[in-house]
Symmetry: C2
């Protein structure tokens, strides 16, 4: 049993945001059914892939779901998909998609089958243009404000942050709509665009105000934490660390462990500025950095790791992805969120479960992603209510595909 056990969500999706939304719900215990074409969706082979071409991305984004392979280009395939989306049940009739197709998966058409459907549709932008994370981000200004000071070259993020944000919003939107249905019996169509999610954040973070009210467009500030003190430093052994002094306590901690109180007091007096104010630390960041640089240059990472941790300094070391896996216990089975999971077709490797712990239930172990079409027969029988003979002829006709063969299937 998990917090959402009993809920059923159907997903028609590709790439990051909506697959992440479905997986988040699946990892909270919902029965999440993703349907794809028998040859796989647009993200079936998304990189990174293994040496044999299996997508580590697909395996990562679809954990714990059921997979149905249906030729939704055929009329009967579409009908069956609609039956799955609109199947009865008080905790079903929930649909999330970034692929809604007018005429057969639009809300109006689907509500002919189930009046109280709750559907969340994620689109690129409000104008119907094809917007993805990697175009939304440049258009709104972040790459021009990222990277070394003085450079004119934009730096794009590697984490598809807007997709990850929007995916979690799809979860919230669906849960809010279903909450409302529980009370009113009314279904709901929820519309969200990636561009609007990002544009709103620009306002939420105060960046629109900075331009509109202050007439300032934030520039590149390297790795400095804007508006307070935070900076990266090189150590004697060539590692790099980030230290943060956003709050008053963080600032005091940082001065204490580096023994720089006297120097900072002197600096404060010389500049006639109160460094206990976060904004003043920002304005005096270059001078503060000059005080701290020799301290880090003179020490190896191991010289201060324990001291920093014991003193509660807000800091971290910079790592490559491989170093993170090798060094960080939070990225290992020492962290109860992670287990080594056998992913059919790929093998056994470190796999995260849900980051949430609901105290009433404890943690669920992570489950593997399904093989494409692994649950076609089961879903066609249990959810669409089709008789076995019909399911067999659909498979024979290529309208549905059940994964068979020697792939080790998850239980």
């Amino acid at each position: 049993m998990s917090i959402l056990t009993g809920m059923r969500v159907v997903e028609s999706s590709a790439f990051v945001a909506v697959p992440l939304a479905g997986m988040t719900l699946a990892q909270m215990g919902a029965d999440v059914i993703r349907f794809d074409l028998p040859q796989g969706g647009m993200d079936a082979k998304r990189w990174p892939v293994t040496a044999t071409g299996e997508s580590l991305f697909w395996a990562g984004m679809n954990k714990g779901k059921r997979s149905v392979a249906l030729d939704v280009k055929s009329p009967r395939g579409r009908e069956i998909a609609q039956e799955i989306i609109c199947a009865p049940g008080p905790d079903a009739g929930l649909f999330i998609t970034n692929l809604a197709v007018k005429g057969w998966t639009d809300y109006e058409t689907l509500t002919n089958r189930r009046k109280d459907l709750c559907m969340v549709q994620l689109r690129g932008d409000r104008n119907g243009r094809p917007a993805v994370d990697y175009t939304v981000n440049p258009s709104l200004g972040f790459p021009m404000a990222t990277g070394p000071k003085g450079s004119d070259d934009p730096v794009c993020h590697v984490l598809p942050a807007w997709d990850c944000i929007a995916g979690n919003m799809v979860v919230s939107g669906l849960l809010a709509a279903e909450r409302h249905r529980l009370r009113t019996r009314a279904g709901q169509f929820v519309d969200l665009t990636l561009k609007d999610a990002a544009a709103a954040m620009l306002g939420n973070l105060g960046i629109i105000g900075e331009v509109a009210v202050n007439g300032q467009s934030r520039e590149k500030h390297g790795n400095a934490l804007y508006g307070a003190y935070g900076q990266d430093f090189e150590t004697a052994d060539g590692r790099r660390v980030m230290v943060i002094a956003l709050t008053a306590r963080q600032w005091k901690n940082l001065m204490r462990v580096t023994g720089t109180e006297t120097d900072m007091n002197y600096l404060s007096g010389r500049m006639n500025r109160d460094l206990s104010q976060e904004g003043t630390r920002w304005e005096c960041r270059h001078e503060i950095t000059k005080v701290l640089t020799p301290w880090f240059r003179a020490r190896r990472l191991a010289d201060f790791t324990e001291t920093f941790d014991r003193a509660g300094v807000t800091w971290s070391v910079f790592r490559s992805f491989a170093e993170a896996l090798a060094e960080d216990a939070d990225l290992s089975t020492q962290n109860p969120m992670f287990k080594d999971v056998d992913q059919p077709g790929i093998g056994r490797y470190l796999t995260p479960g849900s980051p949430f712990t609901f105290a009433g239930y404890g943690r669920d172990d992570p489950r593997p992603a399904p093989i494409l079409g692994q649950h076609t027969e089961a879903v066609l029988a249990d959810v669409a209510g089709l008789p076995e003979t019909e399911i067999n002829s659909l498979i024979d006709a290529g309208v549905a595909m059940q994964m068979r063969g020697d792939v080790r299937l998850a239980s």
Copy 2:
């Protein structure tokens, strides 16, 4: 009326994630009450600030909430905060925090007052260390994979992406817990850490698999879209654009509008590689870029903007924040998500509402953030149920603070 009208959520928070969660709920119609010390919370003066020191950040992150100023360092202030958190009502008893203090805002203590409390607590990491977005991100590897190929310098993101992701997860966690309470009458304590949210994403995106299964640690690839084709180009007039060819359709569109089909066919033949495969486009990205570079170099942005949009190319121009505000209609009142809102103490400027549209309700106009302590008397009376005489003596004693004076208050 909005989708969450009637729900009441209490927030004890600072900075990005939990304030964003509360605001998201407020913009869906919930009555969200944030309480802070009478002098303001840790983020009361967070940059960016106006010339007079008003925080544009605070104004951005607290829109539509009610603000209560309480001295929670005093025993009576704490008691009142607990009364507000645990006040009766079937749609109340919902608490979100990143500041939970053992002994008075931990779940166990609060459930002595309200047994079915649903509480979401966001912590830094599972070990209780002080982790923030700007330390979590370096520790997991993204800055070492961001920026120009060949550079050893880490590049930190400017968008606090993990905070924005975790904030939306706080919303989902609360809605899932409340959904469960509606059915079982049981409260729930939901634990989430910023580090785990980020560590899970590393697995979800396939990056852990890339290291663990393939033995590869992704390096810096500049602005290239990993695993498919996506690249930035300079135009003849010194602008920079991003073009994306992740899907087959995007690739065909890009070749067609740039008239490079023949060149790409030739390239494909010469390398004996099938560029219709996304992974092959990634492997041949430098050669593809060589074909496209002269095309963009020879043209000004205005020469191809309309053609690209008409042809449905997935692309965008790079902009500074100021250029984005000046050029992008999605960041203007032409976008119904935005309105010019009068923010007390700051003035009237472009402000986003909720990115969601719930079809049953339509869009709510964005509301301003409250002034600190704007709703103290109202909440102490309506929610905590205190008589007027007691509220007055609490204010006289400095335990509570009601904002007064000539600040123009939001209605």
